[in-house]
């Protein structure tokens, strides 16, 4: 059996890649994709712990999180569509209307 640390290391790598993407990318769609990466790394942890401790609740949580991520992406893409119509851009650096 593959040791636990491998799964955790993979999840950590994925999480860091995702975080890096969120912090550096300007394209809002790429930022959304990176958030998905971070969520998936969490899902990997859930599933790994679930298998190792022989407890199905981790898998249930992973399913929940995938469903919520899907919903979130749907909302996020809708916002981005509205944004691109209104502002003609999806560069998040140019969208700072909430500032004071």
């Amino acid at each position: 059996m593959i040791p636990m640390e491998y799964f955790l290391a993979l999840a950590a790598v994925l999480f860091i890649i995702g975080t890096y993407g969120v912090l550096t990318r300007r394209n809002a769609i790429v930022v959304l994709m990176c958030i998905e990466l971070m969520l998936n790394s969490a899902n990997i942890n859930f599933v790994a712990f679930s298998a190792f401790y022989d407890d199905f609740r981790g898998q249930v949580f992973a399913l929940f999180s995938i469903a919520i991520a899907a919903a979130e992406v749907a909302v996020g893409l809708a916002i981005l569509l509205a944004l691109s119509k209104a502002r003609d851009t999806i560069n998040i650096d140019e969208v700072d209307a909430l500032r004071w």
């Binding site: 969120v22 550096t24 998040i92 650096d93």
Partner: protein
């Protein structure tokens, strides 16, 4: 049911009258003057019945009476069992005396006002409202059965006097006189209040009977001394005693009827009444009694000197009131001192007898002065003169008043003044200070006779003054009270000879029952009596020589430089008014400026500083909000990382 059980209604009638006039006076005849007469008239009637019962002795049969004292009360402010205030009435001989004096004099003054204030038009409503209120609260003050209730009415009396002195508020002098009366007496009132707090915290009660029956000794005696001292402070302010006497001459700015009321029956008598009412407390503190006597003696003497050369008819009378109030305080102090050492209670009776007589002759004198002012439209005696022929009733009434206050026998002032001086002389055997006070008292008697007859001669005798050409006698509604008061001023001494005499009715601890013959033989068997008569006659003779016969010119009093300086000192009231003004200007105003600066720079500085700090930090802090999503993300990642690291270090993750 006994009449005395309805005594609580006595102050109610004038108060209701005041309320009615205040609400509907504009639509009533004479601005509601007749309602005011009705209000105090009913009080007078009820008072007469109650006083009759007190004098009659049938009083002892009523419920709730012990030791000749009738008390009715209900609890009013209850904090717990130990701390309760009550509201009620307390009737003994002193209350009876004050009630009859206040209601009788007030009723006569209000009747007189109908004519005197007749030309005031729409302002009459205000006048009658305030005067009814004044009479009502004074009656309430007299009836109170505990110090708190007394204090409330005491303050209301102050308020009413303020309103009435400032009746012609459009005149700046009247407005400032009203303020002065209010503020100067307030100095005494603060002391009074402090005294009450001391008494209440020490003895846990303010009820008269409970306080008077306390057995005080040890450290409580010291506190009692402070308490009585403070209470006397209140009396100093209200009764215009030295050094808070200065407001009373200024209070002449009000209508003359108000002066008559303030001087004869209400305001200033409240202070004397307070000391007399607290007499059982005062007699336990001989040092304070000595102080009372000294203040009284100084006041009597000093006020009399200031009356010697004043040209204003009302001011002379005002100084004379202060002087006579000094006599009353002197008698209370000396009498209390005597009582403490020898158990001789006559000083109390002497003081109250003088209070009663003074109420009658001073009301008479003021109303006469009002009648003169009404006729000549000036208060300056130099412009009067020769009025005797034109105003026969007024001049005769004023002559009776002057004879009475000067202490010429057999007018009533003689008897009471003589008793006061006899008490002080008797106390002279106990303490040397009373010898000096006796000399001051005799000197005051001389000056009193002099200035009263100076006033009379300047006003009524000699050639016609500038202002007296068109003078004529006042209407009958004004002379009627004068006649009644003349009879009282001349004849109120007769109470000495009715029954057991005045001392068997108004006394402290034990009545001194004397038959009429005994009183006469005691009075005229005493060489001191002749001294005071001679002194009074000398005062009269001097005034006669200067202002009637013109043998001596009044100019000699200002002929040399030192005499002129003396004259100016008296006219300037020993510089008291100026001194108070300077004190107010330098010390009080300086302190106020200091407070203002403190408020402006320190308090406001702190508040503004805090506000400025917040604005500045806000200015910096708002720049954190960039609106940049990635910047927020960085903050979140960093924050969570730090939290996790801290958790790890703290061992929370293991």
């Amino acid at each position: 049911m006994q009449p005395v059980e309805f005594a609580w209604l006595i102050p109610i009638f004038p108060l209701i009258a005041g309320l009615i006039i205040g609400l509907f006076g504009a639509r009533l005849k004479e601005g509601g003057g007749y309602i005011a007469i009705l209000g105090s008239g009913i009080s007078l009637l009820l008072t007469s019945v109650v006083v009759w019962q007190v004098l009659d002795g049938s009083f002892d049969l009523a419920d709730g009476i012990a030791d000749g004292i009738f008390e009715q009360s209900r609890s009013w402010l209850v904090f717990n069992e130990a701390y309760a205030f009550e509201i009620g009435i307390y009737i003994d001989q002193l209350t009876a005396l004050m009630l009859i004096v206040v209601s009788l004099v007030s009723t006569l003054v209000i009747i007189y006002s109908i004519a005197y204030m007749g030309e005031e038009g729409g302002r009459k409503r205000r006048y009658y409202t305030e005067i009814s209120l004044f009479v009502g609260v004074m009656l309430g003050l007299v009836l109170a059965n505990n110090y708190l209730e007394l204090f409330i009415f005491w303050e209301l009396v102050g308020l009413c006097s303020y309103l009435l002195i400032g009746f012609w508020y459009h005149k700046p002098s009247a407005a400032s006189a009203a303020k002065k009366a209010f503020i100067v007496t307030r100095v005494g009132d603060i002391m009074f209040m402090a005294g009450l707090i001391i008494l209440f915290t020490t003895f846990k009660t303010l009820n008269f009977r409970e306080l008077f029956e306390l057995d005080v000794s040890g450290s409580d005696l010291g506190l009692l001394s402070i308490g009585t001292f403070m209470i006397f402070g209140g009396a100093i302010g209200k009764s215009a005693q030295f050094p808070l006497h200065d407001w009373l001459p200024d209070a002449m700015e009000g209508p003359t009827t108000v002066s008559a009321l303030i001087h004869a029956a209400t305001m200033v008598k409240a202070g004397v009444y307070l000391v007399a009412r607290s007499f059982p407390l005062f007699v336990q503190t001989p040092d304070i009694l000595l102080f009372v006597a000294v203040i009284g003696g100084i006041t009597a003497f000093m006020a009399a000197t200031m009356a010697l050369n004043n040209p204003n008819i009302k001011r002379v009378l005002a100084y004379s009131t202060i002087s006579q109030l000094g006599y009353m305080m002197l008698a209370l102090g000396a009498g209390g001192y005597l009582f403490y050492h020898l158990h001789n209670p006559e000083g109390y009776t002497a003081s109250m007898f003088h209070l009663m007589n003074h109420a009658f002759f001073k009301a008479l004198l003021f109303l006469c002065a009002g009648s003169v002012i009404h006729a000549v439209h000036t208060e300056d005696m130099k412009l009067m003169g020769g009025l005797g022929k034109k105003m026969k009733i007024t001049s005769l009434a004023m002559l009776i008043g002057a004879l009475s206050i000067s202490g010429i026998p057999p007018f009533s002032g003689f008897w009471s003044k003589d008793e006061v001086l006899a008490t002080v002389f008797e106390a002279g055997e106990l303490h040397w200070i009373f010898v000096i006070l006796y000399i001051l008292g005799i000197a005051t008697a001389f000056m009193t006779a002099f200035y009263m007859f100076r006033l009379w001669f300047m006003t009524f005798s000699g050639s016609e003054g500038e202002a007296s050409h068109h003078a004529h006698e006042s209407p009958r509604i004004m002379t009627f009270p004068l006649i009644i008061l003349s009879i009282l001023a001349a004849g109120s001494f007769l109470v000495l000879f009715i029954g057991g005499g005045f001392g068997s009715q108004v006394f402290f601890e034990e009545p001194h029952v004397l038959s009429g013959l005994e009183i006469i033989s005691l009075t005229f068997g005493n060489p001191l009596t002749y001294l005071s008569i001679v002194v009074a006659v000398c005062g009269f003779a001097l005034a006669y020589a200067i202002y009637y016969k013109h043998i001596i010119s009044p100019e000699i009093f200002v002929s040399t430089r030192s005499r002129k300086a003396m004259y100016n000192l008296l006219i300037n009231r020993y510089g008291f008014a100026a001194g108070y003004n300077a004190f107010a200007e330098r010390v009080v105003y300086g302190f106020a400026l200091l407070c203002d600066a403190f408020d402006r720079y320190v308090i406001d500085g702190i508040v503004n500083g805090i506000a400025l700090l917040l604005v500045r930090t806000g200015n910096y802090a708002r720049k954190i909000q960039t609106g940049n999503v990635r910047f927020y993300a960085v903050i979140i990642v960093l924050a969570i990382s730090i939290i996790i690291i801290l958790f790890y270090l703290a061992g929370g993750l293991r």
